[in-house]
């Protein structure tokens, strides 16, 4: 307790040299994870309170179900599900953050998704609450969750045709200088059938498609 009362001057300075080593509290979890899933060793990474694993997108349901139902791991609570765009030449990632009361560290599962054909199985069968997260990811990034029975836009209007959080979506200031302007006034399409639109133009930032009037 004496340590707590003394002002820690060193901590006030920039701690640039502070090594991000895996603390003891993540150690037990790492050992248990590698024991259950030896193939996760390749993508394993830890920081002070998070253990991170990287998987291919189509493995997500299997792995998350095992993590949830295994009594030793017991990651029963889905804290977050979010999508990350690593740029037009890279891939998407769907990132799940899981909470367990058995381990003092968050578990981050990064599932890779092919950017040209962004499909990944839904996890709404495991956690119903993933529905809004998946709808948001579809709305913002255009990632299609196979098996999700309510995959429609959640924030943008139903006739919106771009995916605004993709990295190649241009904001108005940048778009003004670009020939392929990223933002244009909303046009109401002749039909509201978005599946048809997606089939014809393919997923992606539709406003960028060439030859579209």
């Amino acid at each position: 307790m004496g340590d707590l009362r003394r002002p820690r001057r060193a901590a006030d300075r920039l701690g640039r040299g502070r090594a991000l080593t895996a603390p003891a509290k993540a150690g037990a979890l790492v050992r248990l994870l590698l024991d259950r899933f030896p193939d996760l060793a390749a993508g394993l990474w830890t920081d002070e309170d998070t253990v991170e694993v990287t998987i291919e997108g189509d493995r997500n349901v299997m792995l998350l179900k095992a993590l949830r139902d295994d009594s030793g791991l017991n990651f029963f609570y889905l804290a977050d599900a979010a999508a990350v765009d690593y740029g037009p030449t890279e891939h998407f990632e769907v990132v799940y953050h899981l909470y367990s009361d058995r381990h003092p560290a968050w578990l981050r599962v990064r599932a890779k998704v092919n950017r040209a054909d962004p499909h990944i199985p839904t996890i709404t069968g495991l956690w119903e609450g993933a529905m809004f997260h998946e709808r948001e990811m579809y709305d913002m990034m255009g990632i299609v969750f196979d098996g999700n029975r309510d995959l429609r836009r959640i924030f943008m209007s139903p006739d919106y045709r771009s995916f605004p959080q993709r990295k190649d979506f241009l904001l108005p200031d940048d778009a003004a200088d670009s020939s392929a302007a990223g933002v244009r006034p909303l046009e109401r399409p002749e039909t509201w059938d978005l599946t048809r639109l997606t089939d014809e133009l393919g997923p992606g930032v539709i406003a960028h498609a060439e030859g579209e009037s």
Partner: protein, 424 residues
């Protein structure tokens, strides 16, 4: 003397009668026969085919059912949200929440802003928990940058977020009663809130969007006005809370409309991602402050409060218990507050090394978390916020079938959603 009033059973109404009632109610006539997709015209929107299975299900009417559009400007939707309710008479059979009326694209904006500026953009997210909105990004950026806020800054942070929690919960008590037609408690709620808001504006200089947190500390140290207001407030806050409690808790109408309403079991709540007081009111002991301790919470003494009920009343009682818990925490924080600087040395433009950081905090509405990715530049490459009200809102379509329309708002108010956070 009573007169027999014949209330027609909606199931007995023939189609002509239903069409007449729809005309009276100002609704467009239903073209579709029973069991077929009715379309968006029935709620006064341009017609279009359904996009998903679920949408078809909601917009397909059985004999005697109709769609009622609530919002987006309905005063009890806690902001701007639209609920499409499918009703049979006055009984709700299905609900489809329609979001996005307040969507400002804050995540995208934050990806264009420097790390310091991000903390100003997140303020209007959950506008009743502004301090909490700033807390999680501040922690995440400090992790990315590899610095720690000085201890006094951490104590001041904990103090202001607990004060913020108290006023947010006070308002929830008022709004819940307001949605059931009780006007008085919201006035008490705002009295409780205004005292704290004045206090926080003394320390931060702003009244609603405090913009108080900085990467590596807080903007200002405590000052005389803040401490004096804190002392005055502390001397009578328990009395004030008990006064609001006396107005609401044992009120017969309030009890009749909350006990047994919208009962959510712990298992369901976990599956739906419900968090915070709403989850703890279903008997699940999950509080980020103790589950994943951050800031100075490990040094404070408190126990996670849970309530076994799971209904609206339990969620209300949970809030009251948490107000008292927060006041207890504030006492400890003021007692233990150390001297020292309130801001670490941080360059004007922060460029963290490439990396990822996740920070979660307990906001008045539950688990609020930030996932930030740095690519080494002056702005975050990806900035993700998980807002608790956004996720909790999914409980409404689960819980409402079988309840009356009027109770929809009461149950929704018991979840205390804030649309600024839901729509980002």
């Amino acid at each position: 003397m009573t007169r027999d009033v014949q209330i027609p059973d909606p199931l007995d109404l023939d189609r002509d009668e239903e069409a007449r009632l729809r005309r009276v109610a100002g609704l467009a006539p239903t073209k579709a026969p029973a069991g077929e997709y009715a379309g968006f015209e029935s709620v006064g929107l341009p017609d279009r085919p359904p996009q998903t299975e679920r949408e078809r299900e909601v917009y397909t009417l059985e004999e005697g059912e109709m769609l009622v559009n609530m919002g987006p400007q309905h005063p009890s939707t806690h902001g701007v949200m639209r609920l499409v309710a499918k009703v049979r008479g006055e009984v709700v059979t299905d609900i489809d929440p329609v979001l996005g009326y307040l969507h400002r694209g804050i995540e995208k904006l934050c990806e264009e802003a420097t790390y310091t500026t991000v903390l100003t953009y997140v303020d209007p997210m959950d506008y009743l928990a502004t301090m909490h909105n700033e807390h999680a990004p501040a922690i995440a950026f400090e992790k990315l940058f590899g610095i720690r806020a000085p201890r006094r800054a951490e104590y001041i942070r904990a103090l202001v977020v607990e004060l913020n929690r108290v006023f947010s919960h006070s308002l929830m008590m008022g709004f819940l009663a307001l949605d059931m037609g009780g006007i008085t408690p919201i006035l008490y709620g705002f009295i409780n809130r205004d005292e704290i808001v004045e206090m926080l504006s003394a320390i931060s200089g702003q009244r609603m969007l405090f913009n108080f947190f900085r990467v590596g500390g807080v903007n200002w140290d405590t000052n005389d006005e803040f401490l004096s207001r804190l002392g005055t407030w502390r001397s009578h806050v328990l009395k004030n809370v008990e006064m609001s409690e006396r107005v609401i808790t044992d009120n017969e109408i309030f009890r009749a409309r909350t006990i047994g309403m919208g009962t959510l079991s712990g298992q369901e709540a976990i599956a739906l991602g419900v968090s915070g007081p709403n989850l703890r009111a279903s008997g699940v002991s999950f509080d980020v402050r103790t589950a994943r301790p951050y800031s100075i919470y490990p040094e404070l003494e408190f126990e996670v409060i849970t309530h076994p009920g799971g209904d609206s009343n339990a969620r209300y009682l949970q809030r009251i218990a948490e107000i008292k818990q927060s006041i207890h925490l504030i006492d400890q924080i003021v007692d233990k507050m150390p001297h020292g600087p309130v801001q670490a040395q941080v360059p004007g433009i922060i460029r963290p090394k490439p990396g990822r950081a996740y920070a979660a905090i307990e906001s008045p509405r539950g688990l609020y978390s930030v996932y930030a990715i740095s690519d080494g530049g002056p702005t975050p490459y990806r900035f993700r916020m998980r807002d608790p009200s956004f996720v909790s809102l999914q409980a409404i379509p689960k819980l409402m079938p079988g309840h009356l329309i009027a109770d929809t708002m009461a149950v929704m108010a018991s979840f205390d959603p804030v649309m600024g956070g839901v729509d980002k």
